[in-house]
């Protein structure tokens, strides 16, 4: 990817949680980059660190139990890790916005949706309420809420789940962010509504030239919306590639296993292959590869040394010594 276009880049990000008096890394050595007008999907199961990665970027984790353990968070080349909280607060919702899974709990039930969006705009722009409300209405129209002007004064409980998620998106986009972090935005929605929200997000990405980081656990959704994909497991990126390569040539054994465990609506799957075992706890991360205990390709060296993320082809990186080596032999 052209480095000039890179909007958000994470370099060796590490986030630690305090568990039982000691600090343990929930996100380790995560390096990701997302460019203008690009959707990067971060996919993984519960506890893989995908949400923590997004929350670390915005510094939204509770200070008491979590800390930045190293690495850089570069927004257009400027490192956000060392900046003071006041500057960070100015960036949140302005240059970087986030939408969450559950739109009901992320909206204020005592404020009309129009005023909530206007308030978010006034937080970052010196505008009167009247001007901010006009912008808020535009934002609601942009996310295609039917009869936006008449629904401007409604409260969140008067909206359906899909419409609430549209309101969340309108609020996130009101200040024209450069980066949108979307944390499972369609998980709580029905499939037909999910399809509508996915198409809305990809239209808005095109229209604003935004960089979108789309966090999901659903590989089907990844295939629908992503340009590039990062697969996370136990706090690490284990494979990253463009969307076509990832689904055509999944190379990390975990990615392969995920695809084989997923029942498909379009094909008969005679046998689903579950992944044996479970994700290691962050307090008991093995010395070697975190996936080794569940991996069919395990060798002794896997348990001794943690593998690095290595390129197998252009723009396709895998964290698996066995696969990287066999790939080299084929070339």
């Amino acid at each position: 990817m052209n480095t000039q276009d890179t909007v958000l880049e994470l370099r060796n990000l590490r986030t630690e949680f305090r568990v039982g008096g000691a600090w343990h890394a929930a996100v380790r050595d995560v390096s990701l980059a997302v460019g203008k007008n690009e959707t990067l999907a971060v996919v993984g199961e519960s506890g893989s660190g995908k949400s923590v990665t997004a929350l670390s970027v915005l510094r939204l984790l509770p200070e008491a139990g979590a800390r930045h353990g190293g690495g850089e968070i570069l927004l257009e080349g400027r490192d956000l890790a060392p900046i003071p909280e006041k500057q960070m607060a100015a960036l949140r919702g302005d240059a970087i916005a986030m939408i969450f899974q559950e739109p009901m709990t992320s909206l204020n039930p005592t404020m009309t949706v129009g005023d909530q969006i206007a308030e978010a705009i006034r937080q970052h722009r010196h505008l009167s309420w009247r001007e901010a409300r006009a912008l808020a209405l535009e934002a609601l129209e942009e996310v295609k809420i039917p009869a936006a002007a008449s629904r401007f004064g409604d409260y969140p409980h008067q909206f359906s789940g899909g419409m609430r998620q549209r309101v969340m998106i309108a609020m996130a986009l009101a200040c024209k962010p450069k980066v949108l972090l979307a944390d499972e935005p369609t998980t709580a929605l029905d499939v037909t509504i999910q399809a509508q929200i996915l198409s809305l997000l990809s239209e808005l990405k095109e229209a604003h030239g935004m960089a979108v980081v789309f966090i999901t656990h659903n590989l089907g959704v990844v295939a629908q919306i992503a340009d590039r994909v990062a697969v996370m497991y136990a706090g690490e990126v284990v494979e990253t590639a463009d969307v076509k390569t990832l689904f055509e040539r999944p190379t990390h054994p975990y990615t392969e296993a995920l695809l084989r465990a997923m029942p498909r609506v379009d094909l008969d799957t005679a046998v689903l292959e579950p992944i044996p075992g479970s994700v290691p706890a962050i307090t008991a991360m093995p010395r070697g590869c975190a996936y080794a205990s569940r991996c069919p390709l395990r060798e002794t060296r896997c348990e001794e040394q943690a593998p690095a993320l290595e390129a197998v082809s252009q723009d396709h990186q895998v964290r698996c010594v066995v696969r990287v080596e066999s790939n080299k032999r084929h070339i």
């Binding site: 295939a223 629908q224 997923m262 029942p263 579950p274």
Partner: protein, 336 residues
């Protein structure tokens, strides 16, 4: 093959408002004229979006929700006519597995207590026999014996769902009603639980009513499927046929909006319009007509009934069904 369960014209209405708190009295028709049957050893899927009534149907099958009209015949006996003691006996043979393994287990009881309670309630055997049954069941669902002395919070989501399944199995039921049993789980764990259910179905000859919103899971697990929309079954048939060649426009939309892990098969997302109307105020005629691109005048006026199309095991509730691919209905065929 005999039917273990026959449901005929089931209706369930919920009322809200009109009480001492005031508010306008409204009636929600959660289940409207639903009929289906489950053959022994088969699994039937109920699929649809939130609010379509699939979970309410599942609950009426055990009379956890009392239906208002219709009949539920289990192995020749009408559940709605059964007395309390008959119902207790029948509940040994019909068991339910719930969606949320975190909420459906009592946090203050050990797994052993949870699993032995149904056996004690139904007076099935001495203490020693009960213990033996509990031990064999927990191993059957793939958990170690040491799990018996632990509490639900000590287990992961997938393990808790195994406990929930074990609780349903200790009574050796013939029919299991599974209400979204894998929806709260990660894909890898979901596959483990589906594999377990597959094995139980095969080894014990269990029949299932399987509720899910995920068509991929339904395709994998269910022999036949009923697609529901706003309280009605709008299409019914063998799972593979319904998903590969849906007859009802809504089944087609549901299938097309289910994302597939293949970037080459991106769906034309823009075609899917509108949201599900509120169940308190159903549209006239076919309840799907406001979202349907094929709707004609009579769709606004009349409710289409679930009728047989193309073959005897498939039926659809639509005046203008999509032509099944492969069995395209030619004008001659219609005239005959």
């Amino acid at each position: 093959m005999t039917d273990i369960l026959q449901v005929r014209n089931l209706v369930k209405r919920f009322e809200s408002g009109g009480g001492f708190l005031g508010g306008k009295k409204t009636i929600v028709r959660a289940v409207n004229d639903v009929s289906f049957s489950v053959a022994r050893g088969q699994s039937l899927g109920l699929v649809g979006e939130s609010g379509c009534g699939k979970s309410t149907v599942a609950r009426t099958l055990l009379r956890l929700v009392e239906p208002d009209e219709g009949s539920i015949v289990f192995d020749g006996q009408d559940l709605r006519q059964a007395s309390a003691s008959q119902m207790r006996a029948l509940r040994q043979r019909i068991q339910i597995v719930f969606q949320d393994p975190y909420a459906s287990l009592n946090p203050r009881r050990t797994v052993r207590q949870t699993l032995s309670e149904p056996l004690v309630v139904h007076g099935l055997g001495s203490a020693r026999e009960i213990e033996a049954k509990v031990q064999s069941t927990i191993q059957e669902v793939g958990l170690p014996l040491s799990a018996l002395d632990r509490y639900p919070h000590e287990f992961s989501g997938g393990q808790r769902q195994r406990i929930g399944i074990a609780r349903a199995l200790v009574l050796d039921p013939e029919l299991i009603v599974a209400d979204e049993p894998v929806s709260a789980l990660d894909v890898s764990v979901q596959a483990q639980i589906l594999q377990l259910l597959d094995r139980l179905k095969r080894e014990r000859g269990l029949s299932f009513v399987f509720v899910s919103h995920d068509l991929g899971v339904i395709r994998h697990f269910c022999d036949t499927v009923c697609v529901m929309y706003l309280g009605r079954i709008i299409e019914q048939g063998p799972t593979q046929q319904v998903l590969d060649a849906p007859l009802h426009p809504y089944s087609r939309i549901l299938r097309d909006s289910s994302p597939v892990p293949d970037p080459g098969a991106r769906i034309a997302l823009s075609r899917i319009v509108g949201e599900i109307p509120a169940p308190t105020n159903l549209p006239s005629g076919c309840t799907f007509h406001p979202r349907c691109s094929r709707a004609q005048d009579d769709c606004h006026r009349q409710i289409p009934l679930l009728t047989c199309e193309t073959s005897k095991d498939r039926s659809v509730a639509c005046f203008y069904p999509l032509a099944a691919e492969g069995v395209e209905r030619t004008p001659e065929a219609i005239m005959q």
